[in-house]
Subunit: 286 residues, 4 copies
């Protein structure tokens, strides 16, 4: 961990007059200097969301948390505070399609994704990924079929817990998590679905898209919930296709969309820009 | 009608070796010079599609049609031949949302859309559109409610027939055609749906999109069929939205998508670039 | 003017610790409730920019300005404060190409652009725009050639001053303002240039683009300065083109880009989201 | 080489009536079945361009070439004929920025880019690329400085010649080829420039873009010519940026644009879809 003296605060609470000023005031009173602040009041739900980046060279995380706790209670705030020098631990789950994994690893190596990799979990053996440099990354082969599902998920859960994983990324994992695991990982498990949701949920979305004759295909990064492909959407993107594109062309074009949508989502998440708002997200872009 | 000496031939038939050469040869043998040719063989259905633009300064449309008929029969072709100087007659159907109508009228006046307007049919009185210049365009007020639907559609059908309408455009018409009328207008009635189909079919798609929390919204131009929002898709486009956009913002942003998707579709159609392929379309872009 | 009780404050000043908190605190101390706040510290120039929307149901604009003045001096702030119910007066300058004008008028009529139109100034007679509804809008025909330029600009300047114009929009005006007038209108005159600046400055950019064989064309909205096509850029967009597109096709495709870029820019400006930062802009998107 | 029985013919010649029919006819007469045909007549230069894919299960490349030669002479055609099973040999030149190289290698391994890699030439030692799997790929370290430029280029030229390289790709090579080498490689050397040409030619384009305050940045793939950044453009793309993006952000965002533009260009080239048209290109998209 590198000491940066920079902290990110995210919070949500019932909306009411004066929150922005009160939070700003509280941080300033503690000696913090606000570098960025973004907020959103959801008129429908009456809920307020905020993200602040501030500098405090005198206090550490524990002291700041202690200072903020009493304040936050007055507003019934749900909040997180993170030292920007503290990297999150990310577990990458992958199937035989490794384009998202390869892309994430490359970006991580050149410094685009400030995180530690807690491990790679694959339902194929390491040999499948021999062209990728996995040096120094814990690799776990957890094969799965319909009989072994429960055991495999128990092993996966242990890995997540024991490795201190903060975020689980389904990087084209192609397996459905049990409701139990989905619930356990609520808000910290991201999936990349290879369609422009809510269109083409479920299996083989590119084949569905081809059959329907759409002129654009897409990909969607969302939080995993117990309901398949219904989790809060974080980021989406599309590419143009034509009648001449076969399902295989859509799969190829789709790979590009999937990896850039997932990479963007990961950067947003790692910078505390993604907040849950019921079945939706608040995403504070820079 | 302006004599251009240019003709557009579109055709589809069972695929087999030699079609491209046979068609090229036939036209050349008749004295035609091919300016553009595009083709597509659908490997799934075994059907072949072609669009040709050619010049023939000696023959007129009737002579060319007579010459092509026997040839086409050998290949069991479905085909159309159009003199490029012959403008199609387009009937525009509109509800109180007139942004697509205003856009089409403007583009038509400055020469972007080579067509004749057979008329405007609205379920609101002419006064509703007083800011639009409808000079010289037949305007028909056909109000509709659940009791008058049958009578209104009978009147509409008469207008379409009597005006020699080639194409009907539902420019945010907001009424569902009867199965009977949809079938009568098969392949010559285009709707603009205000969502990225197949997501958010049916009513109030922007409200559906807002509820789902998508990060992109879209619009879809498609042929009208008896099944609501299931017709062959011709063109789609999207815009990025955020958590801060209200349903009203989506409606506003959507207006821009709708009008450009519909205008592009109309240009494509008027240039004989849109061919039906079962429940899908073949769109030959330039 | 509609009383909304909502105000927009924009400011810039030398960056230093504590500004966000100080401004929030000041407004809250005056009884204001902050609804939106966005800020940006330019690390290169050491300058800080902020936009706040707040509600104050007790004070009016004059009282708020008086209250803010002394505070602002401590930070050497340049600032503006606007009652959101107070519409800006916009003068539209146009040449024979009226697609941007037609688009702006339509959006204005349906309520997309909260402004008053101070007038339309054209170098072609009103008859040129007969298909547009200019009812109730002051129209001024100010023809111009190389001999009359000085007189024409004097007349234009008078119109701007006498009509209480806040913002001048060159909606494809196709005339170059004198340095003197450009300086007078600094920060309140917007031009739409029909290229992706800094590419293709000057005359006939679509012909330049065609000659160079680019695969994308664009449009740029920027503040007008004395240096041609060098003013601070506010917004840009592009469309894909191909080798088959003629200069006339580029002009047609470009019209769509121009009008949407200019409309977006106008909305951003009218909502006080565009701040000048030397030769660049800070644009606070929602 | 895999026998596919499929061939791609590209040609250009002075435009005149009857070319499409004559070519179709010639191929059909030889027993070929046309699968795809695209053509373009450049009205400005009077030059005609065509790309055909056809199937011929009886003749091999040599026989087809012999058969086409006499025919082509009648039309003064420049032409190439390629057996689709015959992969091109591509030499990749790279500097320390290896994101384009990593991307090309990944796509090549999973079968997206049908080519053989003739070698990788780098001005940094192999150790620089240790995270990339270069197994089985000839790697050449050719360091260069201002004194060694001539020698280095002689070595590079030898490598190109001896390896039977068909296409040279400057995958962020960051060195300027001599006029002599540029001329030698005319039409078979592609560069990815990290700006939206013709904006920001030359060095450090992202820093130039940041200074100008543009709202979109881009990348451009073009053929290399003796004039720096002036070669015929093949493909371009852009991403949206904001005032808050630093030059380093632009470099990061730009990496994504560069690699997808270069990958698309490579696919187009490998499928014989890119034809030279003087200082421009004709690109036949599918």
């Amino acid at each position: 961990m590198t000491a940066t003296g920079q902290f990110v605060l995210t919070l949500s609470c019932p909306d009411r007059a004066g929150i922005v000023a009160a939070v700003s005031n509280h941080l300033a009173g503690q000696g913090g200097n606000i570098l960025e602040a973004q907020q959103f009041g959801d008129a429908e739900t009456g809920r307020f969301f905020m993200r602040l980046v501030f500098e405090d060279t005198e206090r550490d995380l524990a002291a700041l948390e202690a200072g903020f706790d009493a304040f936050a209670k007055q507003f019934a705030m749900q909040w997180t505070l993170r030292d920007r020098g503290q990297r999150r631990r990310v577990m990458l789950l992958v199937s035989k399609f490794d384009h998202c994994l390869a892309d994430i690893l490359y970006r991580w190596r050149i410094g685009e994704l400030p995180m530690d990799i807690a491990g790679v979990v694959a339902n194929h053996p390491r040999e499948t990924y021999r062209h990728l440099d996995l040096d120094g990354i814990p690799f776990h082969h957890l094969p799965v079929d319909h009989r072994s599902r429960t055991d495999q998920e128990a092993a996966l859960t242990r890995l997540i817990d024991e490795s201190g994983t903060d975020l689980v990324v389904l990087a084209r994992y192609m397996q459905i998590l049990s409701n139990e695991l989905a619930r356990k990982l609520a808000g910290r498990c991201i999936n990349i679905h290879h369609s422009f949701l809510p269109g083409f949920k479920g299996a083989r979305p590119y084949h569905q898209a081809h059959r329907r004759g759409v002129k654009l295909i897409g990909a969607t990064a969302h939080f995993v919930t117990a309901e398949l492909d219904e989790g809060p959407i974080i980021e989406q993107d599309i590419e143009r296709v034509t009648h001449a594109d076969t399902p295989e062309d859509l799969i190829r074009i789709g790979r590009d969309i999937e990896r850039r949508v997932l990479a963007r989502t990961l950067r947003l998440y790692l910078d505390d820009r993604v907040l849950l708002n019921g079945a939706k997200t608040v995403v504070f872009h820079s």
